[in-house]
Symmetry: C2
Subunit: 231 residues, 2 copies
């Protein structure tokens, strides 16, 4: 029987490519998507589409409303920054940072993994073409893996949890090339932090800018549908 | 202005006493209660009562349904063990363990603390008269504090988060004596894992047994209302 792994799946490029990597490595995949009150809730639909397209064996969407906490332009009524220069993205931590989000997401993935008897957790974190979020760094991932083995019954009983971030050192272009080789259909994914109500991407938030540059550098057409915008 | 701290408040003896300790140390307190689909949801009412009685400045109850994960008699249709001998409680990890619960709770507390600018988190974990849960141990608390400072914008920017578990080395009797000295009204608290629909405590689950023994050893009457039971 193949090993089974929990994947945090947001519906964006990174998590979808991570899912493809896990499938390619022979894992049966359990996807976990968290509806945390994000402004771009439309990504939840993308997660459903990609999970279905890639044949996961279970897809759980858990609701957790972080809007009561606020503190981020993704969960509170704070404008999403637009048209930041490429030099600014990744320098400093922007207002789209959601306090402790990846700690919460990994804690939920750990809970699901332990409840189901899985030992492997995959997360699409990466630190090259990224937004400067502290909870994407390798030292954070390593600290979480250590915590996971102290925190759980399974860990105490000697079944080691591992947390894999296979994209951690890749550029966005390399991620897109990798996913394309693995057959990912990126038209199913969603990246924009600030889409129109109909789901059109803004083209100008950090997430859109990183996506557009990634496809451009990869030499692959970006299948996302953008609202009209001027650079 | 007094420092402000986030307290994880379940409505039981330990978290309520921890709240009293934080108030006694001069903190303004923000209480966080998590409705995770626990069988004993009536404890949420106890959390509301104790938070109000102790004058917290903010009380947030966040919903997160862990029943979809299952794996515990507190979140799935698995019977709560009754009348376990005192020698058995704390030996091995019982079925009432909720996978990675304290990791999730602390991650949420960290998120709230960072969003509000608080640096101190209190949790009522203790490892003397307890149920053997791995995520109550001092090494887990220390690992989480380390993670918190890697995971967050505030941590990266040099504002250190601390995670305090002031009851960690106390017996249940000592906790009750401490809380009584600090003016805690334990009639407002709820401990039972398996109450009647009306909220009467069963008297026989691990949590009731630890509570009853704690009050007995403290020489203080237990104000909980139990359904009729035989020892």
């Amino acid at each position: 029987m193949p090993d089974s792994a929990v994947i945090l799946l947001s519906g964006g490029i990174d998590s979808t490519t991570t899912l493809a990597v896990a499938v390619d490595r022979g894992f049966e995949v359990r996807a976990l998507t968290v509806d945390y009150g994000q402004r771009h809730r439309i990504e939840l639909e993308a997660a459903r589409r990609t999970a279905a397209a890639m044949g996961v064996k279970e897809h759980i969407t858990t609701a957790l409303d972080l809007r009561a906490f606020g503190g981020s332009s993704l969960t509170a009524d704070i404008a999403v920054p637009k048209n930041r220069g490429e030099a600014d993205i990744g320098r400093g931590i922007p207002i789209t940072y959601v306090p402790a989000r990846n700690t919460i997401l990994l804690a939920l993935a750990l809970s699901l993994a332990e409840a189901r008897g899985d030992r492997q957790i995959f997360i699409g974190a990466n630190v090259v073409d990224y937004s400067g979020y502290p909870d994407c760094r390798p030292e954070f991932i390593a600290a979480f893996a250590k915590l996971a083995n102290l925190a759980t019954k399974a860990g105490v009983e000697g079944c080691e949890f591992t947390v894999e971030a296979p994209l951690i050192a890749l550029t966005k272009a390399q991620i897109i090339q990798l996913g394309t080789r693995l057959g990912v259909d990126y038209s199913l994914t969603h990246s924009c932090y600030d889409p129109t109500p109909e789901g059109l991407a803004c083209g100008r938030c950090d997430s859109c800018l990183l996506r557009r540059r990634g496809f451009r550098e990869a030499g692959i057409p970006d299948p996302a549908v953008y609202r009209p915008f001027e650079d």
